[in-house]
Symmetry: C2
Amino acid sequence: MPDRSTPSDDKPIDLPQPAVGRLSLYYRELHRLLESQQGGVNSQQLGKLVNVSPAVVRRDLSALGTIGRRGVGYDIARLIERIGDVLGSGMQWKVVLVGVGSLGDALLRYRGFERLGFQLSAAFDNAANRIGSTIAGVRVLDAALIESFLAAEPAELAILAVPAEFAADIADRLVGCKINGILNFAPTTLKLPPKVAVVNVDLASELQRLAFAIQTQK
Amino acid sequence: MPDRSTPSDDKPIDLPQPAVGRLSLYYRELHRLLESQQGGVNSQQLGKLVNVSPAVVRRDLSALGTIGRRGVGYDIARLIERIGDVLGSGMQWKVVLVGVGSLGDALLRYRGFERLGFQLSAAFDNAANRIGSTIAGVRVLDAALIESFLAAEPAELAILAVPAEFAADIADRLVGCKINGILNFAPTTLKLPPKVAVVNVDLASELQRLAFAIQTQK
């Protein structure tokens, strides 16, 4: 066994956001290494794949109780399992998507979710020409059915890809249906009870961050 | 004049990434306030709109040399101008997009970019059925033409929405065409010269961050 791990337990580990982001990247690259038939990886190799130093890799992984062996490194399969446990990817998460415009359509077709344990159970829209269609295996239902669908088939997470002006109303309805977390692509800040987790992805803001990085480098 | 500003100069301001992200959100909400005909805003109102404390708003804005007046607040139009200067949104940025799959298609149709000064000059793909089409006013050209197009019409930024296996090659070609920054949606880490800025958006990682947040809240 090329690495030693402390026994995993059910207590959640408290990790800062940047570490969670890095774990998610290690996880992605480890899957790729596993597909290419490799058995072990060291902190230098893993660091190189995600552009961080070997010391950061070792610190992140030791926070999970996983310690690489000098000259041998980490067992890839065990590391995937451990990171998956911590990130919740070992679990199956039910996800609904609201808003099947071009972005929602792209998200339904995105194949990266399922591999990580996220299962899209339904999509919702209010446009007659979208309702009733099936996109990448997911049914598009009338947004009026959000409550009745989730009462019958509860989901933990929702992806919100509606225009900004509808986001607050839809988010409130989802929270009323016991959704615990929202991945929000609508360019607006949602006001939700503290028990509901939100991750915002604002595409224009990301391009602005890039433009800022370029300006300061000049 | 409801606020005092230090004269803007051309030296870039050094801001940490989270502050840049917040400025981008203030900027978005200020545009909305301006549309609703408001003239002034105070740090409490602005903080409420983006879920941060008034003290954080005041600190972020004073880093730009912008100080609100007690009881009056900030002049919205001037604040937009100042944040836009800092974020580079006052500038016009030429942007090309590579990869017109469903995500690339959604990004071309996304209306948030133009308002912030990002102008999509062309999109590139290698699929015969996409080449020659026009999406949201942007021509889709053969990816073989990236070099000749950018030689004739230089761009500063590129949006990369190709499958992971093509990302490294396309990124190298874009850097060879003097692209200064890449917004990377491909689920892979790019290795680029340090002078090239990269912002990565990994959709599956965002959902993983959300799942992690829920687990630790339970």
